[in-house]
């Protein structure tokens, strides 16, 4: 169970690395925003789940639930504000055609 939790933690950190690579590789701002918001929140949630499998503290479960809820609220708010600002400033969007 501990090894499985550690592997899930490693998977979460790999997802965070993938979101950073997506931030470099994606061609326009909205694609970068999508890569940064979705993959990073999913990676952090994998790390929280892996940590709760490794550890037995009830304090960790409470803090992990708090971080989960706040992250679930704050990530879409920040992404939405950034997308709205990019839309108002008319940042260039890459046309796939």
């Amino acid at each position: 169970m501990i090894t499985l939790g550690e592997i899930i933690t490693l998977l979460g950190s790999i997802f965070l690395l993938l979101s950073a690579i997506g931030l470099i590789r994606m061609p326009d701002f909205l694609m970068r925003l999508q890569a940064a918001s979705k993959a990073s929140s999913f990676g952090l949630m994998l790390i929280l789940i892996g940590g709760s499998m490794v550890l037995d503290y009830w304090q960790y479960e409470v803090v992990a639930a708090t971080i989960f809820i706040f992250l679930l609220i704050s990530t879409p708010i920040g992404a939405h504000a950034l997308a709205k600002a990019s839309n108002r400033n008319q940042l260039p969007i890459k046309d796939s055609n």
Binding site: S13, I14, A20, I24, L44, V54, A81, K84
Partner: protein, 88 residues
């Protein structure tokens, strides 16, 4: 601390390096803000992994504090960022 947790810490540090390079390289302010926001999430992940590895309660408190700060930053973004049109 097991080798898998050490590999996780190494990957998060690599993420930090990539994000710093992206933040210095990009010309748009919104790109830099996005990279800094992702740096905050990576910081929370780093403190959580350090707590999993060492079981020191300090890292858990730091992760919780960074989560609250990133929540306030998201509220500030949603309030002020769409209005600052000319400075972007």
């Amino acid at each position: 601390m097991s080798i898998i947790i050490q590999a996780s810490i190494l990957i998060i540090c690599l993420t930090f390096i990539i994000l710093v390079i992206q933040c210095l390289r990009s010309k748009s302010v919104l790109d830099q803000v996005l990279a800094m926001e992702l740096m905050g999430v990576s910081g929370i992940a780093l403190f959580l992994i350090l707590f999993i590895g060492q079981e020191t309660i300090l890292f858990l408190d730091l992760a919780q504090l960074l989560t609250f700060v990133s929540f306030i930053i998201a509220l500030v973004f949603s309030t002020f960022l769409p209005k600052k049109e000319k400075s972007l």
